[in-house]
């Protein structure tokens, strides 16, 4: 560790002078006047004015990574960790504040999105090239969007048709012959009305088993077609309307190298396969009533149908979702404002499961699952009061009440946020709030299906409930006119009152699901520093300590698959006018506890380094980029236990703690018409 830090520091010092001089030459050649404002590339930034701690990853930041989809868009963010759910499906899962992504509320343009059965799988349904920005807020969110944000919110903003390029085409190919195409078409009819049509397709053509030569594909064969059409209307009187409709079709199959989808349910060759269809629609409208008040409506609906098989086990899920939210905003005085509203959510999940992992296994099916059909109707009412004393002090207190028809529970959600800026650019924030979530036994833990564990659900699973609180400190130091050091430090604590606990430690052959009996909590401390050693060169250094524990069969243990610590080092350099851009990201992943399992990996995993880099050349209408993922070529040895006998009790493909893909080269081309 020390060596690495010293080397990095010496190199930075040694070359610090040189490019600065080189740039002076270029600047002189252009004879720029002294007052010229510099165009600055901003990949990530902390939103200083926001009351919540909010880290924004911009489209420029995403262009420095091969962001095929949302799951791959967090590689240069220290707040969000990304990992695989198992070794056969290729699905990625995120973690925020040491807890899986299901506890953070995913939102598309401030409307709840990818919840229920789509939550674990859904990251693959959002192509990175469609995104304009991703904002990650830590801690309990606002009450306006429901009670589900426990560890934070991740809000996605798609490209805006009135601002985006008229046409964009992105082509991507990697060394494992995974091909991708993204096309975006924006049209402005007039100053008021505009529309966008975005399409995305991906297919991989090569079956690869670089890893361990275990006869299993490293990544499944995947085909995805994804289309979005969005409309925006802005009237001269302030009326604003945004609507979007999205359809995704995805088919993937993996498993043993010789497996074909027709061999489904064959008990001599192991295969995984699945088809997902998802339709999503939302519309949001804002009406100004007068200078001081406005009314907003948000309506969204989605339908998802997922059909999958893992060896001889079957899983099928259908979900219908409808959500409506009406908000009324009003300025009460010079320093105060309020928001009040009502909401209604209807969600109907129909999960079908038949788990038969090996000969003689205990068959787990819908009959054992008491709530195979879960229909929730959740009407709610909320209010939020904001006191704002200039830029110095802001506080927001919110309260919401919901009734959940499935759990027959009255849910009261209080939230409080404070922001204090005693001296300019010194910001202290604090937040506390309660959150709830309806757990889905299989969808939240579908990696289990890629193992031979027998599934047992003990008792009726109640709604998950937690409290989250935290403090955050942000300071920007101005080094010179256009160079700053940005410092952020934060601490968050999450305490569960009830949680769906997946106990994998009682036996390597069994998985027990139950309500929490005892404590379950997460403590996360993180520090980020962004410095600019010289012009156009930015270095981000971040470190994080996780202490996440949960009670399994009356023993308080570290939560599995959560790194004890994590470090991140990001270098971004661009030449004047960004004609060339270089990005290098290094992640240091600490040890994580692995649950008791049949493989050779038990106890704590080894720490490892994961690096990725990209070079981008920008032209007038196009960009060309080449990059490498997993530069150090570190892969988990033998990720599939019992690969020789997949239909036996010794098979387990769910123990994944490190990358599954070796070093990967990619090449991409973007073409824009303004």
């Amino acid at each position: 560790m020390k060596k690495f830090a010293i080397i990095a520091f010496v190199i930075l010092l040694a070359v610090g002078e040189f490019p600065a001089k080189a740039q002076d030459t270029v600047t002189k050649a252009k004879t720029l006047p002294a007052f010229s404002i510099r165009h600055k590339l901003e990949c990530r930034f902390q939103k200083l004015s926001s009351i919540e701690q909010n880290e924004v990853i911009t489209a420029d930041g995403l262009k420095g990574l091969a962001c095929c989809n949302l799951g791959e868009s967090f590689e240069n963010s220290a707040s969000v960790d990304v990992g695989y759910s198992d070794a056969v499906t290729g699905c990625k899962q995120i973690q925020l504040l040491g807890l899986t992504g299901i506890y953070s509320q995913m939102m598309l343009e401030n409307i709840p999105f990818l919840r229920g059965v789509a939550a674990p799988y859904g990251l693959g349904f959002v192509p990175g090239q469609w995104l304009e920005s991703i904002s990650v807020s830590k801690g309990a969110g606002t009450v306006k969007n429901g009670y589900e944000s426990i560890t934070g919110c991740i809000n996605l903003e798609f490209e805006k048709p009135q601002r985006g390029n008229r046409f964009t085409l992105n082509l991507y190919e990697n060394s494992d012959l995974k091909s991708e195409i993204t096309a975006k078409l924006n049209h402005r009819f007039n100053d008021n009305l505009s529309t966008g049509l975005y399409v995305f397709g991906t297919k991989n053509l090569l079956r690869v088993d670089h890893l361990g030569h275990d006869g299993f594909m490293d990544f499944p064969m995947q085909t995805q077609a994804n289309i979005v059409n969005r409309w925006l209307y802005q009237a001269d009187n302030g009326f604003h309307s945004i609507s979007l409709i999205n359809y995704v079709y995805e088919n993937r199959f993996g498993g043993q190298m010789e497996f074909q989808p027709e061999m489904w349910k064959n008990d001599s060759i192991y295969g995984f396969g699945g088809t997902t269809k998802r339709l999503h629609f939302f519309t949001k409208n804002g009406f100004p009533i007068n200078d001081k008040s406005s009314l907003g409506t948000q309506i969204s609906a989605s339908y998802i149908h997922q059909d999958a098989f893992y060896g001889k086990s079957d899983y099928c899920a259908k979900e219908k979702n409808f959500y409506a939210n009406i908000l009324y905003d009003r300025e009460l005085g010079a320093f105060t404002s309020m928001t009040a509203g009502i909401s209604m959510r209807y969600s109907d999940i129909d999960e079908g499961i038949y788990s038969d992992p090996y000969l003689g296994a205990l068959i787990f099916s819908n009959d054992t699952l008491a709530w195979g059909q879960m229909c929730e109707v959740v009407p709610g009412v909320f209010g939020e009061y904001t006191l704002k004393l200039g830029t110095i002090f802001t506080t927001t207190a919110g309260l919401r009440y919901d009734y959940n028809s499935f759990f027959h529970r009255h849910l009261i959600t209080p939230r409080l946020h404070l922001r204090w800026e005693p001296v300019e650019t010194y910001i202290i924030r604090a937040s506390i709030g309660r959150g709830f979530r309806a757990a889905n036994v299989i969808a939240d833990n579908f990696g289990i299906l890629a193992s031979s564990r027998n599934i047992h659900v003990l008792g009726n699973i109640d709604i998950e409930e937690s409290w989250n609180g935290g403090v955050n400190f942000t300071k920007n130091f101005q080094l010179s006119k256009d160079r700053t050091i940005k410092l952020t430090a934060d601490y968050y604590h999450t305490e569960f009152v009830n949680q769906l606990v997946a106990d994998l430690d009682a036996s390597p052959f069994e998985a027990y699901f139950n309500n929490l009996e005892g404590r379950s909590f997460s403590d996360v401390v993180q520090m980020d520093v962004t410095i600019e050693p010289f012009r156009n060169f930015e270095v981000t250094l971040a470190g994080k300590l996780n202490n996440v524990k949960c009670t399994y069969h009356n023993v308080l243990m570290d939560k599995p698959y959560t790194s004890k610590w994590r470090g991140l080092l990001v270098f971004t350099y661009h030449t004047p006018f960004e004609k060339w851009r270089f990005d290098l990201t290094t992640q240091l992943n600490g040890p994580m506890r692995l649950p008791l399992n049949v493989s050779e990996h038990n106890g704590y995993s080894k720490p490892y380094i994961y690096m990725l880099g990209q070079v981008t050349r920008k032209f007038k209408h196009s960009d060309l980029y080449v990059g490498i993922e997993n530069i150090t070529n570190y892969v988990q040895p033998h990720p599939i236990a019992g690969y020789q006998t997949p239909f036996s009790q010794s098979f387990d493909a769910s123990v994944v703690y490190a990358p599954l893909m070796g070093r990967l080269f990619y090449l991409g081309f973007r073409y824009n018409i303004r």
């Binding site: 060596k3 690495f4 080397i7 990095a8 190199i11 930075l12 070359v15 040189f18 490019p19 080189a22 740039q23 030459t25 270029v26 050649a29 252009k30 004879t31 720029l32 006047p33 007052f35 010229s36 404002i37 510099r38 165009h39 009135q162 601002r163 008229r166 402005r188 100053d191 060169f537 270098f571 350099y573 030449t575 004047p576 006018f577 004609k579 060339w580 270089f582 290098l584 290094t586 380094i609 690096m611 880099g613 070079v615 920008k618 032209f619 007038k620 530069i631 150090t632 303004r674």
Partner: protein
């Protein structure tokens, strides 16, 4: 460790060499003055510079805020003042002969939008 140090070193060297290119004035270099009536303040400079930096045949330029114009040194074999003016207008900058692309105007800093739409307003910055 060695690998990491090597990659770091390689990246920094690449960065340095790219920005160290020096330019000589070519034989066919000529200078043209392009009037920018919509130029209200320095916030517009990055847009003008970014456009000229990517324009084929442009060698260098000098911004003259007082006279609201830019003097561009260009290679006459590769481009014409008209093409340069058109490129600026496509990126949202109002020029003497071309209207600014309305989509690009929306991307300009707020204070620069009205004047580049052709309205007779100055932001006063």
């Amino acid at each position: 460790m060695k690998k990491i140090a090597f990659f770091l070193f390689l990246t920094v060297i690449l960065c340095s060499s790219v920005s160290a290119q020096k330019k000589k004035l070519p034989a066919d270099a000529q200078t043209a003055k392009i009037n920018l009536p919509g130029w209200c303040c320095n916030s517009l400079n990055p847009t003008i510079e970014n456009t000229l930096a990517y324009e084929r045949g442009v060698v260098s330029w000098t911004l003259d805020k007082e006279h609201k114009c830019v003097a561009v040194v260009y290679r006459s074999k590769k481009t014409t003042p008209d093409k340069i003016e058109k490129a600026l207008s496509e990126n949202g900058v109002l020029t003497e002969h071309y209207k600014a692309n309305p989509r690009a105007v929306k991307d300009l800093p707020k204070c620069c939008q009205p004047s580049n739409r052709g309205e007779n307003v100055q932001c006063g910055h």
